[in-house]
């Protein structure tokens, strides 16, 4: 009696345990099934972001082009939206002028820094200088804008007396300083991945280090270097705060760097801070300019990706 009761109790317990275990397992199994779907949902946020960007830019631009002809927008040479002139050329011109100045500053300095760090500097020197140089890339752009307006412009004014307070030269120069680490760091990575055997081969044939740099390392790392330059240019095109603060707000189709210019990005900021009413033509023009900017940077990024994929050297 006693014995059977106990065994019955035991049986009950085991059955319960099995049942509990089954239930637990089914919860676990359910989690196991749900989790991948949740993760996929999160991963699709980045895709949705891209779709969202394309959607807003296209939809609002179409709204804009129903008021202003697309022909006038891309061929007009006068940009004064508050009096109804919507020719985007001065904004594109301003953006290109800033980008050209920045490239002239950043590419030689960045490449020479990369060559020094990768080929001449000792390991210790490289490990100290590279992170410090990369600090330049982490400084907020509004700080660069402040620096351009209150320091670089007065400095240039001492050399060029009739330089205005707002000018393309200082803004472009500081954008150039900002993208130096991008060129330097990515190019240095490319040069570092050139195998030492190639260098030693050239050195063994009696080449100097400089000859090794120009005849072995640079050609071998060429695709990586070009990709880094293209990415840096794309960054300069999209740069906003430096040009808004230091280049002024005068849409100006000029190649004269001492003049004030307005870039595409600076116009977007100007229109967004002003009292632009939702649904007005100026409001829509934000998106038409934004889309033009987006296409510029997208093309640059795709070129960079194409170059680094197509001309990738595998050693």
């Amino acid at each position: 009696m006693d014995n059977s009761l106990r065994s019955e109790g035991n049986q009950l317990n085991v059955q319960q345990m099995i049942e509990e275990r089954k239930q637990k397992k089914s919860i676990g199994e359910r989690i196991e099934k749900i989790v991948p779907w949740f993760l996929l949902l999160c991963a699709s946020v980045s895709v949705l972001t891209t779709v969202g960007i394309l959607f807003t830019l296209l939809r609002e631009s179409i709204g804009f082009f129903s008021n202003v002809s697309i022909f006038e927008f891309y061929t007009g040479t006068s940009w004064s939206p508050w009096s109804g002139h919507y020719g985007v050329a001065p904004l594109i011109g301003g953006t290109l002028l800033i980008t050209v100045i920045a490239t002239i500053v950043a590419v030689p300095l960045g490449l020479m820094s990369a060559i020094f760090l990768s080929e001449y500097a000792s390991d210790k020197v490289r490990r100290t200088i590279k992170p410090v140089l990369e600090v330049l890339a982490g400084i907020p752009t509004v700080v660069y804008g402040y620096f351009a307006l209150t320091f670089i412009t007065p400095m240039f004014q001492a050399i060029i007396p009739d330089l205005g307070i707002f000018n393309a030269l200082s803004a472009g120069f500081v954008v150039g300083i900002m993208i130096i680490p991008m060129v330097a760091s990515l190019s240095e990575d490319a040069m570092n991945s050139v195998p030492n055997a190639l260098r030693e081969g050239a050195l063994g044939l009696g080449a100097t280090k400089l000859e090794v740099v120009f005849k072995v390392v640079l050609p071998a790392a060429f695709s990586g270097i070009v990709a880094s330059v293209v990415l840096a240019i794309s960054r300069a095109i999209g740069e906003t705060m430096i040009v808004t603060i230091a280049a002024g707000a005068t849409p100006n189709l000029t190649m004269d760097a001492t003049q004030s210019v307005q870039t595409m990005t600076a116009f977007i900021v100007q229109a967004a801070t002003g009292d632009t009413t939702f649904g007005s033509t100026i409001y829509y023009s934000l998106y038409a300019v934004g889309m033009t900017l987006f296409v510029f940077t997208l093309v640059m990024n795709l070129i960079a990706q194409y170059i680094s994929r197509k001309f990738k050297e595998d050693y």
């Binding site: 996929l40 999160c42 895709v47 060559i115 020094f116 752009t141 509004v142 330097a184 705060m241 900021v269």
Partner: protein, 292 residues
């Protein structure tokens, strides 16, 4: 004859070696240009701003007079914005990374997500501002609030967090995962209890770096309507707000010279916070890099 030839070779050799030395100095000088401007920038900001920096400056709201103005609204606004950005970008970013590293099968869609994230990283920040303006401000009707700004910024820094988290997950040795499977753990149990804890230092470092990018961003927040004149602290995520970079931008744009000193003081506070965040990131990296 032989001697002459030897001399010629020597001369030529000398000029080649000389050129090498000259160019080396030139390369070194080019490297220092970036460093010099970095130094100049810090020096300039410090000398311009230090005079206006005080406890009162930190604790004061914006004001019409330079000696009364302060960074308090921007400082608290930035911290609250970062909290929102951190919550959304970490959950979505780390989940995306886990999906890509552990669950995604090798197909076109996975490749598409990867390339898409790479391209998003190259989109100018101001375009994210336009995205936020259409969706968060107008379509979801958050208006010019912390929530709209925070979500916009979360999308902006998402690629940084995804890439960092992917690298962190990849660096976890597969042996400890295999051991977990061997003990009978399921896939998600292994990821949640073995892989993720081991990857946390890397994820944390990436998150701090992403947040330090977000805290300095100005352009997208101008578009989604961070205000400049805020005299009360935001009391909810649907309140109006301002952030430090917007305050600095506003002060920099004023013509009187005193405002530039006020802006300089703001920059010192902003850079100090950035320095603090980056030091924490480096500390975490150094503390955990020895293990595993």
């Amino acid at each position: 004859m032989l001697g002459q030839n030897e001399n010629g070779v020597k001369k030529r050799m000398e000029s080649r070696v000389m050129l090498n030395k000259v160019m080396m100095v030139l390369f070194f000088l080019a490297t220092t240009v970036g460093l010099i401007f970095l130094g100049l920038l810090f020096y300039r900001v410090l000398t311009q701003g230090i005079g206006y920096l005080s406890w009162d400056y930190i604790r004061s709201f914006p004001a019409p007079y330079p000696d009364k103005a302060g960074i308090w609204a921007g400082l608290i606004g930035s911290i609250m914005l970062m909290a929102i950005v951190a919550v959304f970008s970490v959950i979505i970013g780390v989940s995306t990374a886990i999906y890509l590293e552990k669950y995604a099968s090798k197909n076109k869609f996975t490749d598409f997500i990867r390339i898409n994230i790479q391209n998003l990283a190259g989109v100018p920040s101001i375009v994210f501002g336009l995205l936020g303006l259409t969706f968060f401000v107008y379509m979801f009707q958050f208006g010019y609030t912390l929530m709209a700004g925070g979500l916009t910024m979360a999308l902006l820094v998402l690629p940084v967090i995804v890439v960092a988290a992917q690298e962190a997950l990849r660096s976890v040795p597969s042996e400890i995962e295999q051991a977990s499977y061997g003990m009978g753990a399921s896939k998600w149990q292994t990821i949640a209890r073995v892989t993720l804890p081991a990857a946390i230092p890397g994820i944390l470092t990436g998150t701090i770096i992403a947040l330090s990018r977000a805290i300095g961003e100005t352009a997208p927040l101008i578009i989604v309507g961070a205000a400049t004149a805020i005299y009360t602290l935001p009391d909810s995520v649907l309140a109006k707000y301002t952030v430090m970079p917007i305050q600095i931008y506003n002060w920099t744009g004023r013509p009187q010279e005193e405002w530039q000193y006020v802006a300089g003081a703001g920059i010192i506070v902003l850079l100090a916070i950035l320095l603090l965040m980056n030091s924490i990131a480096v500390l975490i990296r150094n503390k955990f890099s020895r293990r595993l």
